[in-house]
Symmetry: C2
Subunit: 196 residues, 2 copies
């Protein structure tokens, strides 16, 4: 039996991206964002949504480049600390005890301790309402060698990224690997599904 919750923001699960930018004076900022994800394969693009009131919004408008540092479970307290303050007046890298590094690909900072870094250039900016959506073209991805498998692919379970629950405001880890895509479904093949 289902119950209506109204017109709420609710889509599970959402990621935690730490968005790295510089302001006009070169001050670094790092902000956790959960309204985001992959949005195009060619060119490879990611989307992040921000409120105009944030320092990261201002920095993205000014600089048009950013990094995404993907945090791990072990960095949870530091991630949450980044979300509890504004980058307008303090250096959140220092506040959260992250080491700041500068991307060699875009003029933006990233977190040295994070295992995966995505370097992006803003391609589109769409006004949606309270949030503005920035579409970033991925120029490069860097992964720590410790999370790269023998076949060159990156192992999610070695990164142990965080998941955000948008309803309860809780953080979760990633659980077990459950199956391979385009393979697990073979067992349910049904041959009487043709449209009449």
């Amino acid at each position: 039996m289902k119950q209506s919750l109204g017109a709420v923001i609710f889509a599970y699960p959402t990621p935690i991206f730490l968005i790295g930018t510089y302001d006009n004076d070169g001050h670094p900022n790092i902000a956790p964002v959960s309204w985001g994800g992959i949005c195009c394969a060619k060119p490879p693009c990611v989307t992040v949504s921000l409120r105009k009131a944030t320092q990261t919004f201002a920095n993205l408008i000014a600089r048009k480049v950013f990094t995404i540092s993907i945090p791990s479970e072990s960095q949870l307290k530091q991630v949450d600390a980044c979300g509890m303050t504004s980058g307008r007046s303090i250096n959140k890298f220092v506040h959260a005890r992250f080491t700041q590094a500068r991307s060699q690909v875009v003029y933006a900072p990233y977190i040295k301790e994070c295992l995966v870094i995505v370097e992006c250039k803003v391609r589109h900016t769409f006004e949606l309402g309270l949030h503005t959506q920035f579409i970033g073209e991925v120029l490069d991805v860097k992964a720590d060698k410790s999370v790269i498998l023998a076949d060159g692919l990156v192992d999610l379970l070695r990164i142990r990224p965080l998941i955000f629950g948008p309803d309860t405001y809780e953080y979760y880890g990633v659980g077990k690997m459950l199956g391979k895509a385009f393979a697990t479904g073979k067992k349910t093949r049904h041959h009487h599904a043709d449209f009449p």
Copy 2:
């Protein structure tokens, strides 16, 4: 030590949304999408990206409404079966042994067995390249009473949604609850972070 992976699509973790639509003849379709997420709080909006070659793309252009059925771990084989076929010639609800229901809010079908349903109207369509991004305004969310907590919030761990690994093409579950947002970070407060 980090290694460059090039300009690849890589942002962790991504969700699994099952997008429900009707075509021009009223045939239902259900398609798993991982390039999507929340993109605005007011109005509440979600984004889903699709290739032009898909039946769901054609249906969204024609109908401008859709549902998202959020699948659970127990439905993994059925979800993967939906991703292994095209809705052009077969009824994927029947193929994957899902029960089709019709939304009372938008002209679109959803999966009766899924615990959370999001009903959306397309507000914007943005051409990004191989993928087109559809921004859907959330008109209503419906959750099974079994996943709603006493305080009215929805428990992620009762839904047990699926996560997709875009690099290895694997499905994962959600792990443990690790902490509350805007609370866990208090313990790292650092008072010497002000900009000079």
